[in-house]
Symmetry: C2
Subunit: 252 residues, 2 copies
DNA sequence: CGCGGCGTTGAGCACGGTCAAGATGCGTGG
DNA sequence: CCACGCATCTTGACCGTGCTCAACGCCGCG
């Protein structure tokens, strides 16, 4: 089923970490050049997802962690009563699914926010490989640990900071993550809808909207739909009393 | 320095997982009987901490993960401007420090809420061992993944639920965790102060107090200082629209 | 052209934070 | 033993941020 779409897009199913431009962000980061083949051996090239497609669904059997190659992904958990909580946004090079390693089934649903391609790391093979390669195991621990930290930071944001501060923090986080990907850190397109931002930050959509226009009136940012330009990053930092000045190369 | 206090308490510095009553909750859970020696070999018996003592401090060199043997621990992160965010409470058998695996330094401060004893797992040795024992590695992935999930649940609680719902959720979580430890799930002592609860749940102390008395007036719980009795667990669940009916054997 | 998704703006209200004071409990020392 | 002081917890009164509800603008698409 994976091949259905990707036939003409990727004649070879095997991924090539060697030539991948994300190798300094993704798992290969932890692997020596001469061992990269072993990693490539277990990677499966995923298909292309259109905006709105599900990469996987909560409570379905957990098979693989996914690395975003291009595009953007949001993850969310859905409760019995149907309410949704967005738990993260993922950009190219970031690993999705680390929260599902504890069970047989995915702990969340992952949805493509725009046209997105991924690499798949089947979990059994990945565990085998990390057993054999201590550096890779170490890296996995690091990634998961950072995810915990990020989640704690989010909890702090939600419990301690105002609407303005939360949004400033998100903009700064996106900014630095885009920058690390050699894209502009001051002008970019938000991959997610206002409602996703609101949900993620524990706010109402209307509040997000209001804060955006307030920032715009203050000359801190300029927005036009999903296009954002950060005009005054220092002010934005000023809005956020405590935000890791240089957050580590972390996912979320 | 470890020995200073524990001399007469633990003549042997080496821990004995074989006889530990927590072996079905703690790391030994994942280890075959005949391999338990290898785990014991790397465990260090920690000292006894009094209420208020720090087990470790944020930004100090990261050495070990700690398993709580007895007592209770809270972890919190402190920002530059001095504000604190409690990130978790840990009961016997739970592993503290998983959020620090990504760096050279502890990502949070761990403080004993009451008289507490711990086992220490030096991180280098632990990583070596998990490389050699796939089941243990798997278990570590599980623990970390559950910590991520728990943190997401917390984020959801903070962003979507009212004060009453948050407190109900905490009480239910403590209840089930005490129960799993063969203690009463309906009558127990809160190891933490109201201010810790408030901080953890993103509320003001006054609000926590008010909700406690409101619950008491409704006959749902009975409290007297830190002593709590859950009189009507079903109502408590009713307060919480969506709370994992049976949450997995998870930390925090 | 009309419809639906998405974003913005406005008006009113409520939950929970803040400030302030009092109650309770506990450890320390006289 | 009580007296004192400090920390913790409770209760009350007030107020502000952000949620709710409602309407409207905008844009893409059938």
């Amino acid at each position: 089923m994976d091949r259905a779409i990707s036939v003409k897009l990727s004649p070879a199913l095997k991924a090539s970490c060697h030539t991948c431009s994300l190798s300094n962000l993704c798992l290969p980061l932890a692997v020596e050049e001469n061992q990269l083949d072993q990693l490539e051996d277990i990677v499966e090239q995923g298909r292309i997802y259109d905006r709105g497609d599900h990469l996987f669904d909560q409570d379905t059997p957990f098979r693989s962690c996914l690395a975003v190659r291009s595009g953007a992904v949001k993850t969310s958990i859905i409760t019995e009563n149907g309410s949704e909580q967005v738990t993260g946004f993922f950009l190219p090079g970031e690993l999705v699914g680390l929260d599902s390693l504890s069970g047989e089934r995915y702990a969340c649903t992952a949805k493509a926010l725009e046209r997105t391609s991924v690499c798949k790391f089947p979990i059994e093979k990945l565990e085998e490989l990390t057993s054999a390669m201590p550096e890779l195991q170490h890296h996995m621990y690091q990634l998961m640990s950072r995810e915990i930290q990020g989640s704690h930071q989010l909890a702090m944001l939600l419990s301690k900071n105002s609407a303005e501060e939360r949004i400033a923090a998100l903009l700064l986080s996106l900014s630095s993550r885009f920058q690390r990907r050699r894209m502009s850190g001051t002008k970019f397109n938000l991959p997610m809808a206002r409602s996703d931002i609101a949900n993620f930050l524990g706010l109402a959509v209307e509040t997000v909207s209001r804060v955006f226009t307030r920032f715009q009136n203050q000359g801190i940012i300029r927005t036009q739909g999903r296009e954002v330009e950060l005009l005054d990053i220092e002010s934005l930092r000023g809005v956020m009393p405590d935000f890791d000045r240089q957050s580590p190369p972390s996912p979320r």
